[in-house]
């Protein structure tokens, strides 16, 4: 059982790192580093020189650095897949009688397989922007499911958690709305990124400032949703920290952390436009968004826990 608990945490942590690495592949422009899938230039270990390339692949595509970045992402993806598979195995072994643990794990595992397949579609379609967004979207769903499971498993051994706390009944709607808007915001953000690339495809010499101006309406929608999320997170903090009776330290800390992270997102989002889409900031802007989603999941599970224990 302790092993299962450790594996739920390990899988969650590794998936977060994988989202980071995936974002890095994207901003480094390494998505086509390996033009075939699952192998890289027909090899299980990417080639180190041009004469190792197979005849049917255009040598112009070979770039050692990009090949290894993309292949590293695939290897790490395989590692995460393995970790989630072991977690599922242990989950079915110890907790098959608990549907709240069993089903999210099964869904997370199936989505992980689907993600691997989407990776192959991405290579085949030369990084179709819609598929990129889908690839990220399901990664976020997987990480939320894993957070959910990890916390549920934690509560099995920690029966006292949330027992003294009482939160308003209607919080479920607030968490759901926040999660949906956050997901929409991430999708919109990646579409902005995809849109930039599509325009660049047609007009390779386009000026960055002109690009930003062209994306005006998208940026506007992204900002409006951002303001909405900020307001909701303040309401969320107020309700959980001020209105609730004896909120757990977990609730207080996560509520505060959500607000801090959203402030970071506002600043980094503006810096992005200002610094013409600096890659490392793009990467963190996306990664922090996945954290906020995870924190909302944590709050949802904790809230549900208090509802059950207070019944």
């Amino acid at each position: 059982m302790q092993l299962f608990r450790n594996f739920t945490l390990l899988s969650t942590g590794l998936t977060y790192i994988l989202i980071f690495i995936g974002g890095m592949v994207r901003v480094a422009g390494a998505g086509m580093g390996c033009p075939d899938w699952p192998k890289c230039f027909g090899r299980w270990i990417p080639p180190t020189s041009l004469d190792q390339l197979p005849d049917h692949i255009d040598p112009a595509k070979f770039n050692l650095v990009l090949a290894w970045i993309e292949y590293g992402n695939r290897l790490f993806g395989a590692l995460v897949g393995l970790s989630i598979a072991i977690t599922l195995y242990l989950g079915l072994k110890y907790c098959s009688h608990l549907p709240r643990i069993k089903w999210p794990l099964i869904v997370a595992f199936c989505l992980t397989l689907f993600e691997g397949w989407l990776g192959s579609v991405l290579v085949k379609t030369v990084l179709n922007p819609f598929t990129i967004t889908l690839h990220l979207f399901f990664a976020l769903i997987i990480v939320m499911l894993l957070v959910f499971v990890a916390q549920e498993v934690y509560y099995i051994n920690n029966t006292e958690s949330e027992i003294h706390s009482k939160y308003p009944v209607g919080m479920k709607s607030l968490f759901t709305i926040m999660a949906i808007i956050l997901l929409a915001e991430v999708v919109l953000g990646t579409e902005i990124r995809g849109g930039l690339e599509m325009i660049r495809k047609e007009n390779p010499m386009i000026d960055s400032q002109f690009l930003i101006d062209m994306l005006g309406p998208f940026k506007y929608a992204h900002s409006i949703l951002g303001i909405l999320i900020t307001i909701l997170s303040v309401i969320n903090w107020f309700v959980l920290v001020k209105i609730s009776i004896k909120p757990s330290s977990l609730m207080v800390q996560t509520s505060t952390l959500v607000i801090i992270l959203i402030l970071f997102q506002i600043v980094s989002g503006e810096v992005l436009v200002f610094l013409k889409f600096m890659p490392i900031i793009q990467l963190f802007h996306l990664w922090i968004a996945s954290w906020i989603l995870g924190l909302i999941s944590v709050q949802y599970v904790a809230w549900q826990r208090s509802m059950i224990t207070n019944d």
Binding site: F20, A60, L66, K201, P279
Partner: protein, 195 residues
């Protein structure tokens, strides 16, 4: 709690520095090799004007070998070349050259009609012809592309030539992802040329 927080901060900082290093490596990794200069030649373009290796000076050129009645890979190559022609329509320093490998059928008039047909509307895309032996020689010795069985057996490569008339890189003219790399390389050569 503070300990967990500082550990987290250290890990994030390490990830950030590592990622930054990798991203910079990736962005610096687009090298365009220098293969060799295009040898001397003098052909005629579809407007009847002479076109020689001197015309590569101060231009970034994408060049291919084709013939107008070809039904194999040429339509796709021409389509890809047209996309490049449109994508760089505002850049006077980027030009396109298609050399026919079937000069008995593709005379100047035929090439001129063909250029109209595919929507060439300015002097950035040249269709060249000459006698078959000169074309074969240039293709084999100048561009190191096979030319035994012309016109059918022509190469599907796009050749990128820089502003000094040097061959820089070859690309598969029928492959989508090769086209994306070619575009990036044109942009890089153009930026280097302008600066």
């Amino acid at each position: 709690m503070i300990r967990i927080f500082s550990y987290g901060l250290v890990i994030i900082l390490a990830l950030g520095l590592g990622a930054n290093w990798i991203i910079e490596k990736a962005l610096d990794s687009h090298e365009i090799p220098l293969i060799k200069p295009v040898p001397e030649f003098s052909f005629v373009n579809h407007k009847g004007k002479s076109f020689s290796n001197d015309n590569f000076q101060n231009k970034i050129t994408v060049l291919d070998f084709m013939f107008t009645s070809c039904t194999g890979p040429c339509p796709l190559m021409t389509l890809n070349m047209s996309k490049l022609y449109e994508a760089f329509s505002n850049e006077r320093e980027v030009q396109f050259v298609s050399i026919t490998v079937d000069p008995t059928t593709d005379d100047q008039k035929k090439l001129d009609e063909y250029s109209d047909l595919i929507g060439v509307h300015d002097d950035r895309w040249h269709f060249l012809w000459s006698d078959l032996d000169s074309i074969k020689g240039l293709k084999r010795d100048g561009f190191m592309l096979f030319s035994d069985n012309l016109p059918q057996g022509h190469a599907i490569k796009f050749v990128l030539i820089d502003q000094n008339g040097n061959i820089r890189k070859y690309f598969d003219g029928t492959d989508d992802s090769s086209q994306e790399i070619l575009k990036k390389d044109i942009v890089q050569l153009l930026k280097d040329f302008r600066s």
